[in-house]
């Protein structure tokens, strides 16, 4: 071989090598990630997806750590705080740039995006058996409808999508009329009702049943003041063999045994009791704002000699502690027994102002607190979040029946709830339609206070502003001077509007806020 020839050959080879940068070599193949395009190949994968939707309900902005509570619970005429914190909520100084408003908005849409993708991927997927399809789609439809229920309650018209749109489409989406959303969601709930079972074995408690779908549909009708619809759905529930009013009011909230939180009155709850097997701590738990703070607040006479120590010892003996926040406590008027109807047994199960013989500085919601230490540390409340329960359904039925036909048939429902509240019984009778309606304002308060129903009730009755203005507050709160007409709807978050100006296309005022 001559050197010159070698060079030619080698140069050619090298050029081929240089040019041979193979595209295959640079192709990115993921072996350890689940790509969305390679999923939903069997029943098990469909089930994983649905489980994920329930997990997402545990986001801070939703049912965990006082997310939705800021919209439904805090700042009404029943719940206040023991100190000047969370002022935006309690004083009605929230606005379009309030961070928690945006957190909840984002959390709701995260659930919706997941539900959209899961529904469209599972529906008609030949790799997934029909029974699993039905179950999965039923649950996803319910959860999505629950998210749009919150969205339409809080903001009215909102961006609405039923399948996962592209990033571009979602970035430029406009608001949709809430009436349309509600109608389609009710249709989805009809479907969910048909797809879902009436009950689950113990290992699956916490999943949505057809009764959860029914309750949510009743709620939708109620928001639309479609009383016939409300009544029909409530009647279905009342006739359901799976749910009933418990005989004893206190039993509904009995969380002493964390392992046994589900009872017949509960229609749907978000499950917060999961223990981490590795470190034996709660993995699926929420903050507890109903519980008192020891030392800082309680007991009342903690600065007197020996009181604090004796109190702590008494708690310790019961394996209890007051390691909470004290930021969701009854407002003064609700706490006063004289404001309740004589003989209402619910009062002493609802309000507590003295514990183990020690006077407390503040009243607390006895039905909502849980001092148990083993299953209920400060940040780690294992108590489930009850979303729908039967007493609410009975009272809704009563209200709807009264609105439709007057009190005649409505007594039956309200008196079923009152039967366990009074001994001897004090049923309602002989009321006018108007009297029935107004008395219901209080009945719902005494039955459901502290449970995140009240603010929405006041809103739909149109008495939110006047009620807030006439409610006695603790000295550090003054919502009366701040609340106005515009607070009846939340503004879409300011940052969201900056990122997607199309949200102003249908309403340039952003619910009257700009």
């Amino acid at each position: 071989m001559k050197p010159i020839k070698d060079i030619k050959i080698l140069t050619i080879i090298l050029i081929v090598l240089l040019a041979g940068c193979s595209d295959d070599f640079l192709k990115e193949e993921s072996k350890s990630e689940l790509t969305t395009t390679t999923f939903f190949k069997n029943d098990a994968e469909a089930k994983l997806a649905v489980n994920g939707l329930y997990m997402l309900l545990h986001q801070d902005g939703l049912y965990r750590n006082v997310g939705l509570d800021r919209f439904y619970l805090m700042g009404g005429d029943e719940v206040g705080t023991n100190r000047a914190e969370d002022n935006e909520t309690y004083n009605y100084t929230w606005n379009a740039s309030t961070a928690y408003v945006y957190d909840t908005y984002k959390a709701l849409y995260e659930v919706i995006r997941n539900a959209d993708l899961f529904i469209s991927s599972i529906e008609g997927n030949e790799n997934v058996s029909e029974s699993v399809q039905n179950q999965a789609i039923g649950e996803a439809l319910f959860i999505r409808a629950l998210m749009y229920w919150h969205l339409t309650n809080i903001w009215g018209d909102v961006p609405y999508f039923r399948e996962l749109l592209s990033i571009d489409e979602l970035s430029t989406i406009e608001r949709t009329d809430k009436e349309l959303i509600r109608e389609e969601m009710r249709n989805d709930l009809d479907r969910a009702y048909n797809l879902l079972p009436a009950s689950y074995p113990a290992s699956d408690l916490g999943r949505a049943t057809k009764w959860a779908a029914t309750a949510l549909k009743a709620k939708y009708f109620m928001m639309e003041e479609n009383w016939a619809g409300t009544l029909a759905e409530c009647k279905k529930l009342i006739q359901s063999p799976n749910h009933r009013l418990l005989d004893n009011f206190a039993d509904v909230f009995d969380q002493k045994d964390s392992y046994n939180q589900y009872n017949d009155e509960i229609i749907f709850a978000v499950d917060f009791f999961g223990r981490d097997a590795i470190d034996d701590v709660f993995k699926q738990s929420r903050q507890n704002w109903y519980n008192p703070r020891i030392d800082k607040d309680e007991p009342l006479r903690r600065n007197e000699p020996g009181v604090s120590a004796a109190f702590k010892q008494a708690l310790n003996e019961r394996n209890e502690w007051m390691a909470g926040y004290g930021k969701m406590i009854p407002l003064p008027e609700l706490a006063r027994a004289e404001n309740w109807e004589d003989g209402d047994l619910r009062y002493s199960e609802t309000i507590i102002q003295e514990y183990l013989g020690f006077e407390l500085q503040y009243p607390y919601f006895k039905k909502m607190w849980n001092l148990d230490q083993e299953n209920h540390a400060r940040h780690n409340s294992s108590v489930n979040y009850v979303v729908f329960r039967m007493a609410d359904i009975y009272l809704m039925a009563a209200e709807a029946e009264n609105e439709l036909n007057g009190p005649g048939e409505a007594y039956e429902y309200v008196n079923a709830v009152r039967a366990r509240a009074f001994n001897p019984d004090k049923p309602w009778s002989g009321l006018s339609k108007e009297e029935f309606r107004t008395k219901m304002y209080d009945e719902r308060k005494f039955e459901l206070c502290g449970e995140a129903y009240r603010k929405l009730d006041l809103w739909r009755w149109g008495i939110l502003i006047e009620t807030i203005r006439n409610t006695e507050q603790r000295p550090h709160n003054n919502p009366a001077s701040n609340i106005s007409e515009k607070h009846l709807k939340y503004p879409l978050p300011e940052e969201e509007i900056i990122l997607n100006p199309n949200l102003l296309n249908t309403d340039a005022t952003n619910n009257g806020w700009q």
């Binding site: 240089l18 994983l48 994920g52 590795i278």
Partner: protein, 1021 residues
């Protein structure tokens, strides 16, 4: 496609192998080489010009070279000497005298994919000699490089054996991407995460730091953070020479430097007693109520535990190197063995390394050379078991080590909560890791005609990593809940395969010299990770060694992962020089990477450099004072692929949900996939000067640079209907600065020599754009408990910037409290902050810039004196103008119930005693959550006497050992002997969050730094 490529490669390789050629016309030349003092010079390279054929002189300076063509020119070269050329005549014996070259223009400097002479260097490259790295009491070169190279900032993060340092070349470029330099070891691209513990410092021959665009753009997308080229030692070709056997051993004793004192004993009790009697009082201005009971009444029996004393010990390092090197006419070798064994200054921590290296080069024929660089390391690390930040910041002296029943105490006596016990940690925790690393890089080089070289390399790096951790059930914090033991095992494997093929062509034609390089490379990196854990062990007998025995099955967690990255690149460089005066370098690399999306895989990184050797000009010849002067400038583009693999794929994330206490697996949609991401682009301009004065007595290398990194990868907010954030190419950071290296030969006499080197770097960093937002919080993910945060990226400020409210000292009277509107919250003797907008709250509006960890300048100063056989080497290292954020101030100065305090509180505000103090009164801050403030920020400037070495060359000939021992040297080194600093807690060199974090400069108590004394001996046989 892949196999086809492989075939081409084989043809290429075999093509080279089968084309060996003979040579005609040969004769043998020999002679002796000596220096200008008349001493024989061993190891001088003798090469037939234009070929790779050559040899090196032996111990007596003799050389012999066969097969020399009759018309050949021989070049004689040696580091520190001027290269000589001699034309072969009829003679066969040439004795050569080499002249010292103070300017070092003939020094060979490694650059990417080749070497060049300093004279011809266009780029900005800093060389670090191996002599400054040798025998440092650390297993890592990053530590050893501190203060040695201009433009390179090395910050220790921890004194733990084997802890990495933060290395930044010319500042911080990237937010989400990489800021650590790329390590290239003997041509093998080992990555920026290369574990430097696996490289024996004493095997390193030289380190080159590539800094400017022409040096870096040959590394394309991996060059933006700078490149560190490491060249390991090789044997010398000495015809007929004997192997050189070298033995080196040192022993180091280490103690904790800058001991930090915490509040103990009566001082602590006094403070807490004072706090217990402080109340807001009836008027709300603060009041001492002496009727309240003392927390620690006199006469009580209170524990007074010296936690630091219980966990520290004297550290010891033993390091042994044995190497054999040598060569013959057609091959050379270097084989070394190293054992490094360190016992840390905290009990039960340490590192032991065994490493073996084989470096081999051989001529297969006149035209074909081959060789390999290979190292194997086995490292056992006993991880630190103690949370040092807990030991110095949180543990209370009143907490006993043991309970009355002899078990370990695990409860903080103030909070009543469970807390780790460092003595139990040391005695009970098991935590160790083993790393095995093989790096091998082989080459085949073919030179068909003079000046044309074809080179192909195949290299691989294999890493096997295992970490074992066991927390026995006996640990007090686990005993509280009866959790039983818990074991975690992590086992990862990494492999990287690199093939590089280059053609180099050099030609000299009259006044023109041209060198051209072209190449193609492929690299594939694969990481396979796995981990498992189990707990509920009923006894502690087997732990991680038998993870399923005795543990609870319900606690098992397993995970595995697989990540692959591939690169395919083309590269080229053209060097042109006219009469050695005008130098031009053109560099380009076309890089392809798997982490980017289809259609976006490739990018091109070009650069251009110009240099002018002024001293070669006639008009400069008359200026005697200037012995050499070169001006350099360059501009170019380098990239960084800050994207993690699989970022553009839409994926699901695994999660779980409980239904009625039953665990179910689940999935949700993962992070938003990115789209159309590209490289972060760094455009860098460099203007430099190399100046030698007075015949090389004074050498100055100075560079000014300015670089702008654009297309920064940042999370951009997207509407809530879309998701949370999406990674996009937005944002810009600017770095500009000066690198300065001044070396002066103060005295250069035969038996007295004094040299001074000053290294100085000044970088100015600025955030130009963050994609539309004004600032990004850096600490919220790592330190959610700091009220409002303290570390940010702010447009217009340095990366990172400390941020917070201004601390004004203590309230001295009621009037000040009233004036501030702080009644009920501010107390006399309590802390006072600048409430800028007077709204009675400390909010965002009250915060401002408080400092930055970026120094105004930093560097090192080295003096070497040698007299006869003695050498004295003294090295100072310094930084100036940087700040530190002392995270412990919140509790150590203000007092929080369950945390310990600094001894500075002895000088606190005390009613009627010390009312001028600005350290708050005891009890005024308990239960308060003050935001980060200016008192957390401290001056971090320092001057450190980093190293003093005295070494002595034993006169072997005088004691009659010269037949056996060629040379013997003993040395004594002291490290970190002296520190000048204003920092309240010892050593201000901190980076609590590690080397990769942007949030540098955070102090919260890292593994303590040491003061070391080294004694060693070096023998050559």
């Amino acid at each position: 496609m892949k196999t086809k490529k492989f075939e081409y490669l084989m043809v290429f390789i075999f093509g080279i192998v089968f084309s060996f050629q003979g040579f005609a016309q040969e004769k043998t030349i020999n002679g002796t080489i000596s220096d200008d003092q008349g001493f024989p010079l061993p190891g001088v390279t003798v090469i037939i010009k234009g070929t790779t054929m050559g040899t090196a002189s032996d111990v007596d300076g003799n050389y012999s070279l066969k097969n020399v063509p009759a018309d050949a020119v021989l070049t004689f070269s040696f580091v520190g000497m001027k290269t000589k050329e001699l034309a072969v005549t009829n003679e066969t014996n040439f004795n050569v005298v080499m002249e010292t070259d103070a300017i070092g223009l003939e020094e060979v400097v490694a650059i990417g994919y080749g070497v060049t002479k300093k004279r011809d260097l266009v780029s900005s490259v800093t060389s670090v000699d191996s002599e400054v790295l040798e025998n440092q009491p650390t297993p890592r070169i990053d530590q050893a490089m501190q203060g040695r190279a201009a433009g390179v900032s090395v910050t220790s993060t921890s004194g733990a054996p084997g802890a990495a340092a933060t290395v930044r070349i010319r500042g911080t470029n990237s937010v989400k991407g990489n800021n650590s330099p790329l390590y290239v070891i003997d041509g093998f691209i080992a990555g920026s995460d290369f574990d430097l513990n696996t490289l024996n410092v004493n095997d390193v021959k030289s380190i080159e730091v590539l800094k400017d665009a022409t040096a870096l753009s040959i590394y394309g997308t991996r060059g933006a953070a700078g490149v560190i080229l490491i060249t390991t030692k090789s044997g010398k070709r000495i015809s007929g020479g004997k192997p050189n056997i070298s033995f080196n051993h040192y022993t180091t004793v280490q103690t904790i430097a800058n001991n930090y004192e915490v509040l103990t004993g009566q001082d602590y009790l006094d403070y807490m007693n004072e706090a217990s009697q402080f109340i807001p009082g009836p008027n709300g201005f603060g009041y001492t109520d002496t009727s309240l009971p003392l927390e620690f009444p006199a006469g009580g029996n209170y524990a007074n535990t010296d936690w630091i004393g219980l966990v520290k010990q004297n550290g010891v390092i033993n390091n042994t190197d044995v190497s054999v090197s040598g060569g013959s006419n057609n091959m050379n070798y270097y084989v070394s063995f190293n054992r490094f064994d360190q016992k840390g200054v905290i009990k039960n921590s340490g590192l032991e390394r065994y490493s073996l290296r084989v470096n081999l080069d051989m001529d297969i024929s006149d035209k074909v050379r081959s060789g390999i660089r290979m190292s194997i390391a086995d490292i056992n690390q006993e991880n630190n078991k103690v949370e040092w930040d807990q030991t110095v910041n949180r543990l209370l002296s009143i907490r006993p080590v043991y309970n009355e029943d002899g078990t370990y105490n695990g409860i903080n006596p103030k909070s009543g909560r469970e807390e780790r016990n460092p003595v139990a940690d040391i005695n009970l925790r098991q935590d160790n890791r083993n790393t095995k690393k093989f790096v091998g890089n082989s080459y085949l080089e073919y030179e068909p005609i003079s000046g044309l070289r074809l080179k192909s390399t195949v290299g691989t790096s294999l890493t096997d990593f295992r970490e074992n951790q066991y927390l026995p059930g006996e640990l007090p914090e686990r005993m509280v809940y009866q959790l039983g033991g818990s074991a975690t095992v992590t086992q990862n494997r990494y492999r990287s395969i690199l093939n590089e093929n280059t053609i180099t062509f050099s030609k000299e034609l009259n006044d023109h010299r041209i060198t051209a390089l072209a190449g193609a490379t492929w690299q594939k990196d694969v990481a396979e990770t796995s981990g498992m854990s189990a707990s509920g062990f009923v006894n502690d007998a087997v732990g991680y060694n038998n993870i399923s025995l005795g543990s609870e099955q319900s606690t098992y967690i397993m995970n595995t992962g697989y990540v692959q990255r591939t690169f395919a690149s083309l590269l080229a460089r053209l060097d042109y020089s006219y009469r050695g005066k005008y130098l031009v370098t053109l560099v380009g690399r076309r890089d392809g990477s798997s982490v980017f999306e289809e259609g976006n895989k490739y990018a091109f990184f070009p650069s251009l450099g110009l240099a002018w050797n002024l001293h070669e000009e006639d008009f400069m010849k008359s200026v005697d004072a200037i012995s050499s002067l070169k001006l350099r400038t360059s501009y170019g583009i380098v990239g960084d692929q800050g994207v993690s693999p699989y970022n553009s794929l839409a994926t699901f994330t695994g999660t779980y949900n409980y239904f009625n206490q039953n665990l179910f697996n689940a999935i949700i949609i993962g992070d938003l996939p990115s789209s159309n991401l590209s490289w972060e682009t760094t455009k860098q301009f460099d203007l430099g000067m190399d100046l030698a004065l007075l015949n090389g007595r004074i050498n100055v290398e100075a560079d000014f640079y300015k670089k702008n990194t654009t297309d920064l990868l940042l999370e951009r907010k997207v509407p809530g209907t879309v998701g949370n954030n999406q990674l996009q190419n937005i944002g810009e950071i600017e770095n500009k600065g000066i690198d300065l290296n001044i070396r002066t030969m103060n005295v250069s006499k035969p038996d007295f020599f004094w040299e001074t080197t000053l290294v100085l770097s000044a970088n100015r960093n600025k955030v130009v754009d963050l994609g539309g937002v004004d600032w990004i919080q850096l600490d919220e993910a790592v330190d959610a408990s700091a009220n409002g945060g303290y570390m940010r990226l702010i447009v217009g400020e340095t990366v990172p910037t400390f941020y917070g409210v201004t601390y004004l000292g203590t309230y001295k009277n009621q009037e000040e409290i009233i004036a501030d509107g702080w009644e009920g919250k501010g107390f006399i003797g309590g802390p006072r902050f600048d409430d800028v907008n007077n709204d009675g709250e400390l909010t965002e509006a009250d915060r401002k810039v408080l400092g930055s960890p970026e120094p105004d300048f930093q560097g090192g100063l080295r003096n070497v004196l040698s007299y006869k056989g003695f050498t004295f080497d003294m090295f100072f290292q310094f930084t100036y103008g940087n700040e530190i954020l002392n995270r412990s101030r919140e509790t150590s100065l203000f007092g929080k119930n369950e945390f310990n305090l600094s001894t500075e509180v002895r000088n606190r505000w005390i009613e009627g005693v010390n009312e001028s103090s600005d350290i708050p009164r005891a009890g005024t801050s308990q239960g308060a959550f003050f935001p980060p403030s200016s008192i957390w920020v401290e001056d971090a400037s320092f001057l450190r006497l980093k190293q003093v070495t005295v070494s002595y060359d034993l006169p072997t000939s005088k004691i009659g050992f010269e037949k056996v021992i060629k040379s013997a040297n003993i040395y004594l080194t002291g490290n970190n002997l002296f520190l000048l600093s204003n920092f309240s807690q010892g050593d201000p060199e901190v980076s609590y969050l590690g080397t990769e974090s942007l949030a540098q400069g955070l102090y919260y108590g890292q593994y303590p730094y040491t003061r070391s004394f080294v004694a060693g001996i070096k023998l050559n046989f």
